[in-house]
Symmetry: C2
């Protein structure tokens, strides 16, 4: 690991998230990819390799082999560059980014494009819930009727039981993230959501209502990675990756020692913080995986921002508000920006890079120098944590 | 790249391939994984990371997020090690191996397990052809009625037209590979197949009959990778990876300049041979991607074994027979060993490692020192080539 090179993000691109009926998966990928390449100010011939995160194109649109398809769409077939597809349920984007980062850090490539994309609207809602649930354990959980929301609902219920977390506290995560999304033109829901509306919404799986759950969205995001050495001559404001952590856990919840703690997050964060030689106290802005309102509360705890059990109260106290101690999910998060599983992990990075560049409209975190992204697959079978440094 | 460490395969495992009705995907993965770990003589705690190749578990058995699932099944969740899922259609296994190799070569990990697995029998045959075809371009090829076999059939037809390749020559690839599989107890079809039977079999897509096509199989394979430095103290006969190449091409055939040449193979081979500082003349035993009889002939040409167009004649002349100049697909190949897409690339490596260890029953290539594997996704959107050296 001592031979690892420094790596920076030098370009970002993202599509509008939502129900994008008039664009196909490949069009979305193309749009985000071109934006990132243009933003980096490079040309296609500069790109050494492509890494693509996608969860469900096989079952959703009967298309596998996504990575060369995207290379093809973006016009990168001339050099026959390597194009690698990564799947880790809703952590597919974050893991694709990590693979691209490691390839540049190892000196294998100089410039790499990482993309994440998903198309969920082309399937019917019953299929969508099946697709999302295929990130959990099919044989031991989903086969018996559990769905991804119901598994997270069990975690929420247990969190309430153990720590007195309230439905209001869960709902406040949602209120905060919707408030942030108002300023994000790429967000699926650019609208405030009142506490009472969230609390009185139809239930998906008690105690989670429909507004406690992130939508299953269409969308794509892409970033350009470059060795720091080379980045300095290409880019005015390269954003450095100073920590990368990946960890796994059991697929089935019943095999874990606790329902209120996600060990993969703890281990991934430990690895990323160790590499960065930082702690959560150093972080100025974060994107956490809020697939469900409870997910963000558990993430806050597992990332070490607050003690286990104190997440609900901390949200209530505004710790993660835009002007709080650690502004979290300024993009709107999975909840309000939208959640196309393969794109989410990359979209989080697009937001953090934007924040560390210091010029986000409406939701800029002042003097942000260090940023963190936290991306989960399923109920935490995979966790990916990255830490970034802007040249403040 | 100059800082890359030497890496060796120190353990191999493979299940019986075929219609394995009594074992699930996770059981197959478990079986191959355990075998590889036992063969390497290491324990679970020695393993730093897992890379899993799988094409279609999402659409075939509604299970995504395969990598942590396998970590879980093999009992590797205690250390919360990274588990990364790779998808590249029928090159998923080969690409997973390459990712694992690069991670060890870069010094990121010391010991890595790479697995490939697929479960095709749990879907009906109509779905199976859909699944296989999702490795081609859904919007520009498959939507209009093309299937993976019909696309390869077009390539075969054109090869016949341009170079005078005959149906008999295609069939002789199959005769050879079935003859090899007789000695492979893990092969799906341990039976000879007569030329007339192949030629008179029902047609799948002219000029390809049912016996020109590899089966869609269940099965799993796994290998243990280790830094060469560490391998010497663990393993008597580490098999060194001396070249690794990956390349992509357009997904749709109509975007390529030729139907009889697969550029991704040419580029992947060039990269692997360059790294190894070898040519095809140095190779003593090879596994080539014979998803269809024509695939092996085109691969022979693109890998540089013979001139373009001379593949059919070379097969007829016995160039790739067990006692030929370059014995090819001694395992039986995809055709007779069987073809579970995610497992195939890893199974090829299991065969080459076995050959370079020098103790294969019945089909051992004498004095084999250098081996090659060639793994394709779809019609060549992805190609992966690896070169191995045994300590002869």
């Amino acid at each position: 690991m001592s031979t690892m090179r420094e790596v920076a993000v030098i370009g970002i691109g993202i599509t509008k998230f939502g129900e994008i009926w008039d664009k196909s998966l490949r069009q979305l990928g193309l749009e985000a990819g071109f934006q990132a390449i243009l933003d980096a100010g490079i040309s296609g011939d500069d790109i050494d390799a492509l890494y693509i995160g996608n969860m469900s194109s096989g079952s959703a649109i009967a298309q596998e082999h996504i990575a060369p398809l995207f290379a093809d769409q973006v016009g990168l077939t001339r050099g026959h560059i390597p194009a690698t597809g990564i799947e880790a349920a809703s952590a597919s984007g974050g893991l694709a980014f990590r693979q691209g980062y490691l390839a540049v850090a190892a000196g294998q490539h100089d410039i790499v494009v990482v993309g994440g994309a998903e198309k969920m609207s082309d399937t019917n809602p019953a299929e969508t819930i099946e697709t999302l649930s295929s990130g959990a354990d099919r044989e031991w959980e989903v086969f018996f009727g559990a769905t991804l929301p119901s598994l997270w609902a069990m975690m929420a219920r247990r969190h309430m039981h153990e720590f007195g977390t309230t439905a209001e506290q869960l709902a406040k995560v949602v209120v905060k993230n919707h408030k942030m999304a108002i300023y994000n033109p790429m967000a699926q829901y650019q609208s405030e959501l009142k506490l009472e509306v969230i609390l009185n919404a139809p239930r998906v799986a008690e105690p989670l209502g429909v507004f406690d759950c992130a939508p299953a969205s269409d969308g794509a995001a892409a970033v350009v990675l470059c060795s720091m050495e080379k980045a300095k001559s290409i880019c005015e404001l390269p954003i450095k990756i100073i920590g990368s952590g990946q960890a796994s856990d059991t697929m089935a919840l019943h095999d874990r020692k606790s329902l209120t703690q996600i060990d993969s997050t703890i281990y991934a964060a430990r690895r990323a913080f160790k590499q960065a030689n930082k702690t959560i106290k150093d972080i100025n802005v974060a994107e956490m995986h809020d697939a469900y309102s409870i997910s963000e509360i558990i993430a806050m705890e597992d990332l070490g921002l607050v003690e286990k059990g104190a997440g609900g109260k901390a949200v209530e106290d505004g710790l993660t508000d835009l002007n709080g101690e650690l502004p979290t999910n300024t993009s709107g998060g999975l909840k309000a920006r939208g959640h196309p599983p393969g794109a989410t992990g990359v979209a989080q990075i697009v937001e953090i890079v934007s924040q560390l560049r210091g010029k986000v409209e409406g939701r800029q975190v002042k003097d942000a120098r260090f940023g963190l992204t936290h991306n989960l697959g399923g109920t935490g079978g995979t966790a990916i944590v990255h830490i970034f440094e802007g040249v403040a």
